[in-house]
Point group: C2
Chain length 138, copies 2
């Protein structure tokens, strides 16, 4: 598959894919006789992984380290292990924080549900609807 199709499947800009390649996050792809990049399903998997990890707050550098490590068949050094450990405990902390934030939002919503008796109402926030919908659909 060519870059446009891969980009469309994952909902990213083709430029972003070339950018990731330049940053070493994606391997140099096969090329068609025409010189076009030719991607397979494993590239799609890898790109999806990058996007997911990114949503979770990992930087491209961190994601690159994880990917490099996944590829490396050789013996890892203890330094690499410690990086991995650090990432793990970081993730644990984040899960905890997310759970707490979730609880807070739920409480907020419960309070809101009680206040809302059914009829539509007007409030200042709606005037920002444009900005908010941009915000929530990105």
């Amino acid at each position: 598959m060519r870059i446009g199709e891969l980009a469309a499947r994952l909902g990213v800009n083709p430029k972003t894919i070339r950018y990731y390649e330049a940053r070493g996050l994606l391997p140099d792809p096969e090329r068609l006789p025409s010189g076009y990049r030719d991607y397979g399903p494993e590239d799609e998997t890898r790109l999806a992984f990058i996007k997911t990890a990114q949503r979770l707050g990992l930087s491209l550098d961190e994601i690159g380290e994880i990917l490099a490590f996944k590829e490396r068949g050789e013996r890892p050094c203890s330094y690499v292990l410690s990086v991995l450990d650090a990432q793990l405990s970081d993730i644990d902390r984040r899960i905890g924080e997310l759970v707490r934030l979730r609880a807070e939002l739920v409480a907020l919503k419960d309070r809101a549900d009680q206040l809302l008796t059914g009829a539509a109402c007007y409030c200042g926030i709606v005037e920002h609807a444009g900005r908010i919908s941009q915000m929530t659909t990105r």
Copy 2:
């Protein structure tokens, strides 16, 4: 407490606090006779919330909406509720993804532990130690 102390407690730059104030994330604080900003514990709580939410991937705009909503005593409109719902389901999705990523990292680490028999070893990644430690200590 003045801006410097608040900044130090939370580990942020004083400039960042003024920046948040300018963005409307923090309320205009009380002022000392001297004109200095005077913060109380509730400001610290709020700033800590901002920083946590940010680590979890929310943008300053999103955080602002949540905070504005928390403050608003009046009846929320159903639009606001739907924004809150969207944020909640987003958070649920992220928790799930984090748990999966965690499992993946654990598997990776287990494989690594097996390979590592005890002695130190050299590997290419160590040559990037500078970059990595920058990365993991940020």
